[in-house]
Symmetry: C2
Subunit: 410 residues, 2 copies
């Protein structure tokens, strides 16, 4: 019997009615002739409430106890989901992360899955049960409760699918799938039918928050194809899978947008070994998460270094960069918020030249000034003024023909 | 180092402020030179909310899933309590029932503790940690989550104290201890300093709801002395322990009241084998919980059988008893609500005659009519009109000198 792993996020199980909706889908999937494992998140809002409660009790709760606390969120959902399925006349059994055999390292609040021992799941599946597994959580081999951090439930689903060699892994969310661009910005953006891991990774790291990168990386590593789809309708979603050699690839798969970015430029950085390292280790020590880094070739013994970050991170900086600049005898420090990043992503880019040219051309024609450029093998990202992001997205989406029917993209 | 087990109920940990209050007590206990294990219940209201949520999802949730759901209540409290203790600079670690090594049978929602493997608790204690154990829950040897049913957290505390051979077991609640009578009824009722297991058992089963009988029975079986005291002040509470042979016992320890009782009398029950059994197995099959049963000697080939129950149970009866009475060819069935039970309890009664006489005499003098009498070795219970319960309680409390100073009672 084919095995399907389905994952439902917090908004899909946000109240008893929605849990019933999930239960109906799950039971239909079983009745269609599948073994079914369901991974659920905490009901939306529950985790935030628990965090608030913890903050009321302690200004700096330990990570170990945060995990014990937060794990109750998913445990509540598994029990309720199993009850809802049972009430529809099907057989369901709930399993905490520990019971499901999900073993992690001991890094509380952001544990990594070490291995999965799916003996219990298999036993229950063999007995005809639908298994409801708590996402986001596991245990160490010493029996400590751990949580996997952001995006942890997706990770659980993909890891369980890998361990059980599931035929299908379906990630249910509140959107229809991965789109060629944010439909709120580009109205004729369309749902992508198939996307490769690497493309989704570039999209995710560039602001298309359908899934956390680590889950996609995990799926890629263990070659688990999965489908991102909506729990609120029955539309097919976006299938995410390995690159298929031999097929001609689409040049540009999608465009990813990230607003509320900020940029710091340090001018006249002396061009000698260790200066870049000094800057970025200072940032890392201060836990500032930076995104794009650009340094141009030095022609005069000194160079300018720019980097971007989320706008919220800029306030964390304080005088840090100014101090570092002084220390390394660099010039002025220029800080600028109100910028945005637009990334064009597609595996076909590797073998097609001209993508960058086409992007710059269309933006230029639209009077969008490019402040920084950063490229990977399958991505071109530009930093522009935030006020221009909508115009730029529409121009690029049209220039690469992304609104055309899916069939034309193959 | 002496080991203390402290148990805090739902109202003692009902909000972050109260959890902090508990944390302070616990840390003080450790700083006074003790190893400390703390057993906590779910925050008050949490369990009811979870039950409500379950009912919204399913009209008949399975017991297994109810346990998975309800266990989150105590898990939340252990994490918060550990955080609060950590924030005071002491070291605490939380343990679910499963992590604490509490193994039960597989009867979900009312599991019995099978054994306790306190290896984890001991390890953490040896490392100087305060252990915060989730009350009310355990696991089967197959790793299923179970709950212990009503009064389960007290049971956890006493069982853990037994397994660890703790020097002290303190049950914190919202009252100061066990009283000679309900102080709301008898204003000069006083707190009892020491009471024996059997006496508390008779008090508990007769309406003094300080603790569930099963916890007291468990403590008696494993000879665990414990103290019932308030978490809202530092007063000494009531010590509950084994009967000490050789000491002269107090004749009457206390008076227990139970209101809202109902009585059913079946008249002219044929005096032949099997009729009583027919009546009470019908009641048992209908899950009606009955309390006192009285049948007098038959002098005429038939007898009257009366039994009492909680007033709420009477409505469950419907025509059940009328049907049974017809079937066994008995006479009329008389149902009466609005009655109450007053029980006089004391181990010294065994060797002192005259307790019954004194009780009946004082009630008679107060014009309180006795409708039924039931006795055990250490208890005399009378069923009276509910409207007379306050008068009766005051009369009996005075007659047995219960308001006198504790020293006089030894």
């Amino acid at each position: 019997m084919p095995l399907v792993v389905q994952k439902y996020g917090g908004s899909s199980v946000g109240n008893p009615e929605r849990i019933h909706n999930v239960a109906r889908r799950v039971v239909e999937t079983q009745r269609a002739g599948n073994s079914v494992v369901v991974v659920v998140s905490a009901m939306s809002g529950v985790t935030d409430n628990l965090i608030r409660l913890a903050k009321e009790v302690s200004t700096s709760p330990t990570d170990r106890e945060m995990d014990v606390l937060l794990a109750t969120g998913e445990q509540t959902t598994i029990a309720l989901t199993a009850m809802a399925i049972n009430s529809l006349g099907a057989k369901a059994v709930s399993l905490t992360g520990a019971q499901a055999g999900i073993f992690t390292d001991g890094i509380h609040t952001k544990a990594k899955i070490a291995n999965i021992s799916p003996r219990q799941i298999r036993k229950h599946l063999d007995e005809g049960y639908i298994c409801i597994v708590a996402g986001f959580q596991g245990q160490t081999i010493q029996g400590q409760i751990t949580t996997l951090g952001r995006g942890g439930s997706d990770l659980t689903a993909i890891a369980v699918a890998a361990a059980l060699r599931a035929e299908n892994c379906e990630i249910y969310t509140d959107v229809d799938g991965v789109f060629t661009c944010d439909p709120r910005v580009v109205p004729d953006a369309r749902k992508i039918d198939v996307i490769y891991y690497d493309e989704l990774l570039e999209m995710a790291s560039s602001g298309s928050k359908v899934m956390q990168s680590r889950s996609v990386e995990f799926a890629k590593k263990f070659k688990v194809p999965f489908e991102v789809r909506s729990s609120f309708n029955t539309n097919r979603g976006t299938i995410v899978k390995e690159e298929t050699p031999g097929l001609e690839n689409v040049v540009v798969r999608g465009i990813s947008l990230e607003r509320n970015q900020a940029k710091v430029t340090i001018t006249n950085v002396p061009d000698k070994p260790g200066t870049a390292s000094r800057i970025f280790s200072a940032l890392s020590d201060a836990n500032v998460i930076i995104d794009v880094i650009v340094q141009n070739v030095s022609v005069s013994g000194s160079t300018d270094i720019s980097f971007t970050m989320n706008g919220d991170e800029l306030t964390k900086l304080g005088s840090l960069i100014d101090d570092v600049a002084k220390e390394i005898s660099a010039g002025k420090v220029i800080k600028k918020s109100g910028i945005a990043k637009l990334s064009v992503v597609g595996i076909g880019m590797r073998s097609h030249s001209g993508v960058a040219a086409k992007l710059f051309e269309c933006l230029g024609a639209g009077d969008v000034n490019i402040q920084m450029i950063s490229t990977s093998e399958i991505k071109i990202a530009v930093i522009i003024d935030e006020s221009k992001i909508e115009v730029a997205a529409k121009l690029a989406h049209a220039a690469f023909g992304l609104s055309e029917a899916a069939a034309d993209q193959k």
